[in-house]
Symmetry: C2
Subunit: 144 residues, 2 copies
DNA sequence: TGCCACATTGACATTAGTGGAAAGGTCAAG
DNA sequence: CTTGACCTTTCCACTAATGTCAATGTGGCA
């Protein structure tokens, strides 16, 4: 699979794929042409890279844990193992964070929907500025 | 609370706080001096902003959903509601993604630890390059 | 053969986030 | 009053990610 098709598959630009490759994150094989050739393994790897970049990891960070993502050299990986565990805890924190935010967001949506329906019931009372401030404050209350 | 203290509290730099403010994400009050003054509400808001930035949201994106994060103007928020729901689904995807990656990482750690202990049992057999390639491939298998 | 779509690399531009320095105001403590 | 530790704004710089353009190679197809 060539770069354009791969990029389309991943929902990113060929440019980004080349960028990741230059960062040492990806090393698709080349065929006779010199054209990059993306196999299933490359695709999955690229997908993970795309996700991590989208989640706020820099290519350097991703590269830092790459030796353990990849292959041979369990010896060379030994040091990377602690990195991996560190990453794992980072990911755990991220997930917890996101889940909290998700719950908050869900509540907020419900509340606003509620407020809206009440507003329309009361036929545009003007700017009563319902105590949404207090509401959103209450919502934000439980965090950190 | 002044900027430095607030920044320390949040684990970011004063510079970043000013940056978020310039982006319109944050509007701490000022006291007589002109010094920024961060109240509890500002702090929580800043904390959420910090998290979202760290999770790969741009200030523009955050700003786009800001009217609904904040306060008054349920009318003005009506349009933002769909944005919020969109964000919610994005977050859901992210969480799913991270959880999958988390599980994969955990498995990978276990496998590598296994491989390492076997290696040391076999007393440095040299570079047999155990079939870790196949292993990590199998691991990556279930994704996308 | 010539055209066209796609590939390559490399250089340059843009946007975000952040750091840092300069030039100056505020304020408390010595 | 001076010093020092904050604060302010403004400007410049760096890095990362990405876009875009230029110059060139490859390969299929009328």
């Amino acid at each position: 699979m060539r770069i354009q098709e791969a990029a389309a598959h991943l929902g990113i630009s060929p440019r980004s794929l080349r960028h990741y490759e230059k960062g040492g994150l990806l090393t698709p094989s080349r065929d006779e042409n010199g054209y990059r050739s993306y196999g299933p393994v490359d695709l999955r790897r690229a997908g993970r890279i795309r996700d991590m970049v989208a989640t706020g990891f820099s290519t350097r960070e991703i590269l830092a844990m790459a030796p353990c993502l990849t292959d041979d050299g369990a010896g060379a990986c030994e040091s990377g193992l602690s990195d991996l565990e560190h990453k794992l805890s980072q990911i755990d924190r991220l997930i917890a964070d996101l889940q909290a935010r998700r719950a908050t967001t869900r509540d907020r949506i419900a509340l606003f929907r509620d407020a809206l329906s009440h507003n329309s019931e009361r036929e545009e009372t003007g700017y009563e500025s319902t105590n949404l401030v207090a509401v959103s404050d209450r919502l934000a209350g439980g965090k950190r």
